[in-house]
Structure formats: C-alpha cells, structure tokens
C-alpha cells in the first residue's frame, strides 16, 4: 500500500491551484489605455480623476475603468479609436502640467488583480525598446568641483584683503600663488577654517620667488560628489523620461556611478537620446516691484529692465532681467521643517560666488520678493521657463537660506526636487546602449514560444513512449512545473527575456531528470524481484538523495550566475533556479501523489506500466 496522507494531497492541490490562478493573468490580452502623469513627476492631486471623468463625459467617450497606480492614473478604453480621441480631450483638459501617453494596460480581470495577479513583464528584447547604461563623467565632475574651489578661494582671499598672484585649476588639483610667506600662512589658515573651502588636501610648496599652495580634492569629497551627481541625474532623467510618456520606464542606480534607463516600446532612439541628454538649469531673479505685472501683461508694455513671466498660479509676474544666482552656483537643496515655526521649508546652499552675490542682493532688498525660474532646454532648441517659487526676502543671507511659506511638505519636496534638478550636475555619458526594434521583439517572442512548444512536445512524447503510464504522470508533472514556474515569475515581477526562455526550455529538459532517476530506480527494483508496491516506495526513497544532491549543485552554479551576471545572464539564472525548485516539487511530490492514486490503493498490483 502506498498512500499519501490527506494533507499532502491538499498541499499539492493548493499549490497547483494557486499556481494556475497566478499564471492566468498571462493569458488575458491588453486594453488600450491612457496614462496620465505629472510632467514633473509630482504626486497627482486627488481631484484630477474627477476632472478627467467630466471631460470625457462631455465628449461622450466611454471608458472601461480608471485607477491610480502610484504617481500615474490609468484609463482603460474599449478600443483604440476611443483611446486616441480621449487622448486629445484629456490633453486639452489638463494642459502642460500633465503628460498624457498612449499605453497598453494588461487586461487582467479585477478579481485577479485584487489578489496581486499580474502578467510577466516582457524584457526589452521581447517587446522592443531602448536600454541605456549611463555613467557619471567623473573627470568633468572633478574639474567642475575644482573650478568651484578656485572661485571660492579667490572670493575668500578678496574678502580678507589678501592679494594673490594667481589661483588656478591645474591638472587634477589647484594651485594658489601668493606674494609673501605671511600671505601664504594666512591663506593656509583660511583654507583650513573657512566653511566653503573644506574637503581639500592641502600641501605647502617649497618657497621660491612666489609662495605656493597646492591642493587636491579629497577622495571622500569626490565620492560624495559622485553620489550627488548620480541622484541629481536620476531626478532629471525621471522628469525627462516622464515627458516621453513611456509606459513603464526603469530608471535605476547600478553600482556606484551608473544609471540604467530602460524605455520599453520606445522606437525613436535618436529622439530618446536627445531628451535624455537635455539639460535643465534655474535662475534666481528679483521681482520687479516698481511696475504692475497685470498692466504690463494687458498692455503688452513691459519695462525694458524686466521680463514678463507667468507664475505657477497662472498670474503674470515681472522679473528683473539681471540675474542674482544661477543653477551652477547652487550646491544643494533639501526639504525640511523650519526649526522655529515647524512649517515645511526648503533649505538651499550656494557656493562661494553665489553666496556673495546673494548677500549683495538681499542686503539691499529686505522686504522685496525674489523668484526662482526653472529653465528646461528642449531637444529641439526651444526653452521652457517656469516660475517655480516666489518668496519675500526677510533678512540678508548668503551661503545658506530657507524658503518658507510652502503649503505642505509635498510642495517643499517638489520644490527641492526641481532646485536640485536645475543645479549644475556632472554630465553622464552613455556607456552601453541596446535597442531592439518592435519587429525583432515580436520575432523573438514567436520563435521563443515555438522552441518551447516543440521542445516540450518532443519531451512529452518521448516520456510517454518510454515510461508509459509513469511517463504520462511525469508529463502531468511537467505541465504543473511549467504553470508553477510561470506563476512564480509573474508573482515576483520578474522580467521574461530571451535567455529567460532558454532557461525555461533547459528546465524542461532537466526537470524530467528527476523522474527519469525515480523511474529507473523503480525498474531496477522490479528487476531485482521486488513487488510493485515495494518497488515504487524504494524507487522514490532511493532516488531522493541523488536528486537533491544533483539539484543543489546545479543551484550553486545558477546562484553564482545570478550574483555575477548582468541583464541577460541574470534572467537565465532566475528562470533556471526557479525551475529547479519547482521541478523538485512537481517531479517528486506531484508524481508520487498521482502514482499513489493510481496504484497505491490496490492491494495486489501484478505489473506496473513502466
């Protein structure tokens, strides 16, 4: 008698059922949909979907459903025509602040979606798209940093009335030449103590006709710089990519100095590269308080020293043409709460030159307003200028200051995000690019699918012919294995790539190995004259340690692949390891339960169909 206890049958039943449920989303198609995001990557206001609903209602365009997923709104439509009509309507209704992109949303039924069911994500090689690997150009970053130090040292020396021969950027460091030993010692002292000059390794040069000091940027400082540059670039990249209206972009830090950008479905790589390469900056300008902005905007007569802008509430505002500080003088900006009032605020840090200019301006302008203009350089050469903040100068300030009066902490973090994006960032260069056209992607899917099906069928036939009833049971397990693998990949949100498909195919080939081992053992036991029931039991028991050892060693190899691999290799490693795990379950427990159901209950089995 070979019988499993009830809980084992139940377990298998539950696992397979759950597997089927989570594999199901892969078999529903896609709905044409609209994706609405803020053009700046901000959070969406709650009333937005009501506005859109109303706009669509007016035009009598019906939609299937709408939902908010994080920072995006998704509207599903019955067909592509409605989708395209709706896109125009929604764009008109929402204006520039939002990006409306055409998208295909998975048509997974609500019931499945509510329990977290979702289809596997297709990799770029299967659905087409662009992959960029970008790296911070550290040489330029270092050189920018040195230039900043040079400016700061000059400013500090001037402030302290020390006359210098030269302060310049030289090679990987900087060089300050002074007239006397006394000046040099004063300068050394300043360089060690002044707030804006920290982070340098300072060396005194042997005295000659001039008295020199050389300095290099500390390693720690460079690392910090690298991190800031990376974060800044990721922020700007998010904004840019947002603008492209890509359905599910990936922008991720990889290692210390790299960013991966993946844009599924994007075909025009030239355009994508341009947009990714575009830059943003910002300018602090004084508000023209002596003229009325409303009159200027109505009459069109703008005073010559000013320019007319529109603030974020849509009201006209006059700003002086003379610049106070620009983005490349901004070192950092972060959202926080004001220590005295507890109000949300943004603290800003400027470099030496910037702080001096800011101090000069604020000293004379307490009580006047100051505005920040965010300037985006579009790839086609045009510029977009937005006034993102207008604030009253309460007291003179220089290097560090706070902007308060922001409505919420969200608003504060939005402002700081834009400020950082507009600060001078170390440039990034593309070190890897992979683009797959849509037709190749479709080809790959078709070919991969075909290979899986043919390989699968061949194995099924061979197993059925070779092991008869037991072979059919193994085939059942193989199906279950495929379903489980698919549901695991879907649940984990793993991306299916071509090498991933290769991993699945290989798993099929190797998954039967466990069954082959067991069945050969059973045959052996029968040859040795054991009864069928005893042979089944012995076969499973004896094969188990072999299967475990063999699979664990393969898992070791797959794990190493996962650790060291990038991109395609990783995808292969993931499917291979998951496949090994699921195959252990289906090929051992799964087949045993079915075999037990067939033979286990009978008292006398004369012959096994193996």
């Amino acid at each position: 008698m070979n019988q499993y206890s009830v809980w084992k049958y139940l377990l298998i039943l539950i696992v397979v059922t759950v597997g089927i449920i989570y594999a199901l989303p892969n078999f529903y198609g896609e709905d044409p949909a609209l994706q609405i995001t803020s053009s700046r990557g901000f959070e969406l206001p709650a009333e937005l979907s009501t506005n859109i609903d109303d706009a669509l209602l007016v035009e009598q365009i019906s939609f299937l459903s709408s939902e908010q997923q994080g920072n995006r709104l998704l509207y599903r439509f019955n067909n592509a025509e409605d989708q395209i009509l709706a896109a125009d309507v929604v764009r008109n209704a929402l204006g520039d602040q939002y990006v409306v992109a055409l998208n295909l949303a998975h048509a997974t039924p609500d019931g499945l979606r509510s329990i977290g069911g979702k289809p596997m994500t297709l990799g770029l090689d299967l659905q087409g798209g662009v992959h960029f690997l970008m790296q911070v150009d550290m040489d330029t970053a270092r050189s920018q940093q040195l230039d900043r130090y040079v400016d700061d040292i000059r400013a500090v020396l001037r402030e302290n009335g020390i006359r210098y021969v030269s302060v310049r950027h030289e090679g990987n460091g900087l060089l300050a030449m002074l007239r006397s030993a006394e000046d040099r010692d004063k300068t050394l002292n300043l360089m060690r103590t002044d707030q804006s000059l920290q982070g340098l390794n300072i060396t005194e040069l042997p005295a000659g006709e001039t008295f020199g000091i050389s300095a290099t940027v500390q390693e720690r400082q460079l690392l910090e710089l690298q991190q800031t540059a990376l974060k800044q670039n990721i922020t700007t990249l998010r904004n840019r990519v947002n603008e492209l209206g890509v359905a599910e972009p990936v922008i991720q830090q990889q290692g210390a100095d790299r960013v991966v950008v993946q844009l599924p479905g994007v075909q025009d790589t030239v355009e994508a590269k341009k947009i990714i390469g575009a830059t943003a900056t910002l300018e602090y300008r004084a508000v023209d308080e002596s003229n009325d902005a409303f009159t200027a905007s109505q009459t069109g007569r703008v005073p010559p020293e000013s320019r007319l802008y529109t603030d974020d509430n849509g009201n006209p505002i006059l700003l002086k043409k003379r610049l106070i500080v620009s983005g490349d003088q901004l070192i950092g900006a972060s959202a926080s709460f004001d220590q005295q009032t507890g109000q949300p605020s943004v603290s800003v840090t400027l470099d030496g030159v910037g702080s001096k200019r800011m101090l000069d301006f604020t000293r004379d302008n307490v009580g006047n307003r100051m505005a920040v203009v965010y300037i985006e350089q579009k790839p086609n050469g045009s510029k977009i200028e937005d006034v993102i903040s207008v604030a009253v100068v309460r007291e003179p300030f220089g290097k560090r200051f706070q902007t308060t009066g922001l409505g919420s902490i969200q608003e504060a973090s939005q402002l700081s995000l834009l400020l950082r994006a507009g600060a001078l960032a170390a440039p990034m260069e593309i070190v890897e690019e992979r683009t797959v056209g849509p037709s190749l992607g479709a080809d790959n899917v078709a070919k991969g699918f075909k290979a899986v099906v043919i390989g699968f069928v061949l194995v099924l036939v061979l197993m059925a012919v070779y092991y008869r009833v037991f072979g059919l049971v193994a085939n059942l397990a193989l199906f279950a294995n495929l379903v489980l693998l698919m549901s695991l990949l879907s649940m984990l949100g793993a991306t299916l790539t071509m090498p991933g498909i290769a991993g699945i195919v290989l798993t099929i080939g190797m998954a039967v190995d466990a069954n082959v081992l067991i069945f050969e053992r059973i045959r052996e036991e029968i040859r040795n004259g054991n009864t069928p029931q005893a042979s089944i039991r012995a076969g499973y028991e004896k094969a188990f340690s072999t299967i475990a050892d063999a699979n664990i060693t393969t898992l070791i190899a797959a794990f190493v692949l996962f650790l060291f691999g990038t991109g395609p290799v990783k995808g292969f490693a993931v499917t291979l390891s998951l496949g090994i795990v699921t195959s252990m379950f289906t090929a051992i427990m799964g087949t045993r339960s079915v075999i037990n159901l067939i033979y286990g209950g009978k008292k006398r089995v004369r012959k096994l169909a193996i």
Binding site: F132, I430, D443, G455, Y466, P499, V512, D513, T566, P568
Partner: protein, 312 residues
C-alpha cells in the same frame, strides 16, 4: 520501451586509459585552438557597436560595406539569419566619439541609395570599459561556481570526489570552449551563460554517478574499487542516456527554432551536454580511481564506532 533491455555489464573502466588519451588529445586541440585561433569575442566583451537592420529586399553586402567605408566606418558586414537582414559591426573607435550618436550616423549611411525604408531591428553599443568588466565577471563566475561545487561535494562526499567533479568540469569547459573557438561561434554573454549551464549539467551527471558509487561501496564490500565503479556506471547508464536525450531534444528545438540570437547559446549547450555526459563516465570516475578511492573513504568514522559498539 527501453534503450537497454537487459542489465548491462559493459566494462567501461578497462578502457579508461584509452579514454583518457582521447580526452588529452581533445584538450590539447582545444588549448591549441584557444591559443592560436582564439575566441571570436562578441560585442559584449570587445566593446563597439552592432547594428542589425532589415532591408526590403536582399542587399549586396559588398555595396553596403562600401557605403559604410565611404562614410568613414571601418566595419564588418554580415547577413544575419535571413538574406534581407544585415548586421554591421563597428569596433570601438580610438577617438572617443560621442558613442551613442554613432548608431544614428551608421543608420543614415545605410539608408543611402536604398529604395524603400530600411528597418532598424537592433542596436547594441557597449563601451570598452563595460566590455572589460563583463569579461572579468564571466571568468569570476566560473571560478566561484567551481569553488562552490568543490566545497559542496567535499561536504556531501569526500575530497576525492570533489577533485573528480572539478576535473570533469575543467575538462568540459575547456573542450566546450575549444570547440567554440574551432568553429568560431561568437562568444558573447549568452554563451557565457551556456557555459555555466554546462557546468550545472555536467555536475548533475557526475553527482548522480557519484551518488551511486557511494551507495555501492558498502553494498559490494568484497569487490575492487574498479568493479564498483563499473557496476555503478552500468546501473546509471539508462538514466544517463535518457536524460541526455531529453535535454538534447529541447536544445535541438532551441537551436532550430529559437532564432539567430539564441544559436550560440544552444550550440554551446549541445556540445556541453555531449561532452558532459562522456566526462562523467570517464573523466570523473577515472579521476576517482587514480586518486585511489576505496570503500574506507566513504565510511564515516562515527558510524563505524557505532556498529562496533552494537556488537556483543
């Protein structure tokens, strides 16, 4: 159905010297080929740019090459899969040209003088530094996999088995790479993945055999190690053949239907499975015998003590 109807009793091990000589010859050929012909490193490792385009009708590759040469590109032009598909490879340029723009210019050069529209199917650009890193990671991965396996087998079996398994691995990797070098299959990341899959497969086979040897030593106490090994190989032979057949079947499906992109991967694995099957029979077990494996190696000291105590 059965491949082997009766219990087989082939004397594999008596021919082990011949097999070793055969392996040695293969390894020498492989190393020679790797040293002289080298590997046909793909873009992943050399860096550079690869562009695959689809033409409306089969183009003349010589003309395409000339067009590109006129535009100032030192390139290799090949058809890829279909006659209408062209792959252009451009080595990493000496002058650090704004890398990604290169593909745009190449596409422009290719479009020249073509009626109808050419379709961009794939662009890959890998910076030279990235290429170096990928190569380094690949080599490290293989080494770590070997170390991991060595330790696991030592823990589960015994050090002689570890040496046998790793010797078989080394044998399989060397010969697989030798054959890749001989037929000049493009060596890219997917081929590295395939090599590591070969590592996994070959191990699988070796471990199954070792497991049987471990089981058989206590069972056939009176027999010589060589006989035990022979019996074990025979007992696992039908399983070895069946598993290799199913794996080869799916790999063949992948090779013939999976498309050009996966060709190198499938080819490497097919070679690897064949070599791996052979090596677990001859290399791993020969190594065991050479290292003087005996029944005492697999008896745990503790257990021995326990059985002695149990005696009256």
């Amino acid at each position: 159905m059965k491949f082997l109807n009766r219990k087989t009793n082939i004397d594999f091990m008596s021919r082990r010297n011949m097999a070793l000589a055969f392996s040695a010859v293969l390894i020498v050929i492989s190393i020679t080929s790797l040293a002289t012909r080298g590997l046909n490193f793909g873009l992943d490792f050399t860096g550079g740019t690869l562009i695959e385009v689809g033409y409306p009708s089969a183009p003349n590759t010589a003309e395409v090459r000339e067009n590109l040469a006129n535009a100032g590109f030192d390139s290799v032009v090949q058809t890829f899969g279909a006659a209408t598909d062209i792959v252009v490879r451009i080595p990493p340029s000496e002058i650090e040209e704004s890398s990604a723009e290169l593909s745009t210019r190449v596409l422009a050069a290719l479009s020249e003088g073509v009626e109808g529209e050419i379709e961009m199917r794939r662009v890959e650009f890998v910076g030279p530094q990235v290429g170096e890193e990928l190569a380094e990671q690949g080599i490290l991965a293989v080494i770590y996999a070997m170390v991991g396996v060595f330790l696991y087998v030592m823990f589960r079996f015994q050090w002689r088995f570890s040496v046998g398994a790793v010797a078989a691995l080394f044998h399989d990797i060397t010969i697989s790479m030798g054959i890749i070098s001989l037929v000049q299959i493009e060596f890219d990341l997917t081929v590295v993945a395939a090599i590591l899959a070969v590592v996994g497969y070959s191990l699988n086979d070796t471990i199954v055999l070792f497991d049987r040897i471990r089981e058989n030593f206590p069972r056939y106490r009176k027999r010589q190690p060589i006989e035990v090994v022979n019996t074990s190989i025979n007992e696992t032979l039908s399983r070895t053949l069946m598993t290799s057949t199913t794996t080869l079947l799916v790999l063949m499906a992948l090779f013939y239907f999976g498309g050009e992109i996966i060709h190198g991967f499938a080819f490497t694995l097919i070679v690897g499975v064949l070599v791996g099957t052979y090596s677990s029979i001859y290399v791993a077990s020969s190594a065991l015998l050479m290292l003087g494996v005996s029944k005492y190696d697999l008896m745990e000291v503790e257990k021995e003590g326990a059985t002695l105590d149990a005696r009256p």
